[in-house]
């Protein structure tokens, strides 16, 4: 789909005006004929669209607009809302250190997970990228963490990281490392959550890389080999450049995923110790559903949207120049 870059502009331009079929007694305008529209098809189309479109208008478009409005309110749900304009946004930037703490924590989480995840999953995809019998069984194994509920995963990783009887301390103990209270120490809590997240997502990103690798024509490697290129040179001059679209896609998806981190933090550390794992969405959740600052939470959600949109855009611009599309 070449449509992706244009998408961002769509919601602002599109109104709900197209949502209603023309009244029955009106004749269709003359340009309909040129475009090949008929009244019969149009009516049918909107009947087919109706369930989805009504849902869309209420639960997506409606809620997005409501969210914008609420973000300009001060509102605890119990008393009537006060209209405060951009006050919530100003508070966030200038009077709320915890907002910045949570943003930094999220960026730290992103930095810990993205490069590790991409390097590991690419390496694994290359290791696995040969025609092998039984690959389906292996792939099932790698995907079990991906499709598992975070609740179940968090339970078992709380044991992995347990100070007294966890497997990680036992393993490190074999090399003489002293026990570390992974989730109870503000220095190690975030890397621990990041490690678990990378583990959980690896099967997914590996599959994406594998699909990308299998799309590289074999004859390019043969040509490179004839030119005397070794394994490393083949990687640098064939695999990596041709894989750039995949790497780009994987990094966008992973960054967005990392910015959405919540369940893991809620279930494993509740943002602690201190505020060391209070990531952005955990703080947003607390603002909304512990302190009932609805307007503030809505404003935070819009900042999150802007950050993700800006990062995707930047990444697109930056990588677009380097992306090597298929050689033809």
């Amino acid at each position: 789909m070449a449509a992706v870059p244009e998408v961002g502009t769509a919601p602002s331009g599109a109104g709900p005006a197209g949502g209603v079929p023309a009244p029955v007694d009106l004749r269709p305008p003359s340009w309909w004929k040129r475009k090949g529209y008929t009244r019969r098809d149009t009516v049918a189309a909107f009947i087919f669209l109706a369930p989805s479109l009504i849902h869309f208008m209420i639960f997506i478009l409606g809620l997005v607009v409501a969210s914008l409005v609420i973000s300009t309110w001060q509102w605890d749900l119990l008393t009537p809302p006060h209209e405060v304009g951009l006050h919530n946004y100003a508070t966030m930037f200038f009077h709320d250190p915890l907002f910045w703490t949570s943003l930094k924590a999220t960026l730290y989480f992103v930095l810990l997970t993205i490069p590790t995840g991409i390097i590991l999953s690419l390496a694994l995809a290359m290791a696995v990228n040969t025609k092998l019998r039984g690959i389906v069984i292996f792939r099932t194994a790698y995907f079990i963490p991906v499709v598992s509920s975070m609740v179940a995963v968090a339970v078992v990783w709380r044991w992995v990281f347990n100070n007294d009887f966890g497997i990680l301390n036992w393993f490190l103990g074999l090399f003489g490392v002293h026990k570390i209270d992974w989730l109870g120490n503000p220095v190690t809590a975030m890397p621990a959550i990041a490690l678990m997240s990378v583990w959980k997502g690896l099967g997914f990103t590996m599959t994406l890389f594998l699909a990308g690798l299998q799309g590289i024509p074999q004859h390019l490697y043969e040509a490179a080999e004839l030119d005397g290129a070794g394994r490393w040179k083949q990687f640098v001059h064939v695999t990596w450049p041709l894989l750039t679209p995949t790497t780009f896609f994987v990094s966008v998806i992973s960054i967005i995923g990392s910015f959405n981190v919540f369940d893991a933090v809620y279930l494993m550390t509740q943002g602690g110790p201190g505020n060391s794992t209070t990531v952005y969405n955990f703080y947003l959740f607390n603002q909304a559903f512990r302190y009932f600052h609805m307007g503030y939470a809505a404003a935070m959600a819009w900042i999150l949207f802007l950050i993700i949109a800006a990062l995707s855009f930047l990444q697109f611009r930056f990588l677009n120049r380097r992306v090597q599309y298929e050689l033809g």
Binding site: V7, A45, L49, N260
Partner: protein
């Protein structure tokens, strides 16, 4: 044949000699290496789950052994039965199944109908509407969280399953996925049906849907897993334990009984069973879905 074997042993003893191995040997070497990597990786992916299963059958004393003990000395099935005894486990499972199936089937219906309109009917406003759907895919769910909660309160749906089902029953992603697939179905098939006097409804149910079974299966698997595992939204809208889904119930145990390890693990096993079964049976649909919507979209 014997010549090849000779060379093989020679090569393995020769060490880092810069002599290129015969292609066949190199292939065997690569395969062995790949299998080794695959196996190590699979172990890494599965060990936590094996531990989960083993702990769910241990006595509490054995959990705290250090170094960890992998095989329980006596299988303690009452870890499972006591979950039913002390918590409304059957209700949680029933709630989860009810909500997950309602949402998944609802999404299949709304998405396939909308996808039919977007892919097979020519009507004014089609592109604008479709771009709106695509645009919606880029908005994080967190933006809708607060107003959705407010709406549920207004409708009196807090602490009911309506709040889990109705807001989730439409999916721009599902419409997008099915549209991509419907576009690949040749036009001739529906024209043949039209000559026989079929209208849009017949074409949709008799031509398109039967041919789209793989795509429908893909969407089913995606949706089922997403809703079955969902934690944040139920956490926000449900209050009373009788209404909990399995992840929410287990999440509650995880905070309120955080050291009740054996039963936490037993609950996790219960939560994972449907996921593992569904994924094992339908993994090719899941993997295909990633390719369909991701790279080749």
């Amino acid at each position: 044949m014997s010549l090849v074997e000779e060379k093989q042993t020679e090569a393995s003893e020769a060490g880092p000699k810069p002599v290129a191995l015969p292609p066949r040997n190199r292939k065997i070497g690569r395969k062995a290496l790949a299998y080794l990597a695959l196996t190590l990786l699979a172990a890494l992916a599965l060990i936590p789950f094996l531990w989960m299963l083993s702990t769910s059958l241990k006595s509490l004393d054995e959990v705290f052994l250090f170094p960890p003990k992998w095989i329980p000395s006596k299988l303690q099935f009452h870890n499972y039965t006591s979950l039913w005894h002390d918590f409304p486990m059957s209700t949680w499972i029933f709630n989860s199944v009810k909500v997950t199936l309602s949402v998944t089937i609802g999404v299949l219906i709304t998405s396939s109908m909308a996808a039919y309109a977007f892919s097979r009917i020519n009507f004014p406003g089609r592109n604008i509407l479709f771009y709106m759907y695509l645009g919606a895919l880029m908005i994080p769910g967190w933006v809708m969280l607060v107003p959705n909660f407010v709406l549920m309160r207004k409708l009196g749906w807090i602490d009911t399953h309506w709040a889990l089902i109705i807001p989730a029953i439409g999916q721009p992603f599902g419409t997008f996925l099915l549209r991509q697939f419907f576009l690949t179905i040749p036009k001739e098939l529906e024209e043949a049906a039209r000559v026989d006097g079929a209208g849009h409804f017949q074409i949709f149910t008799k031509v398109i849907l039967p041919l789209a079974k793989p795509a429908l299966a893909t969407l089913f698997v995606f949706q089922f897993l997403a809703i079955w595992n969902e934690f944040l939204w139920p956490l926000i809208v449900l209050n009373s334990p009788q209404k909990f889904t399995v992840p929410l119930g287990l999440g509650y145990l995880n905070t309120a009984h955080s050291t009740d390890w054996t039963r936490l693990m037993a609950g996790s096993v219960i939560l994972l069973i449907p996921v593992v079964i569904l994924f094992t049976v339908a993994q090719r649909y899941y993997v295909r879905g990633i390719a369909l919507t991701g790279l080749k979209g």
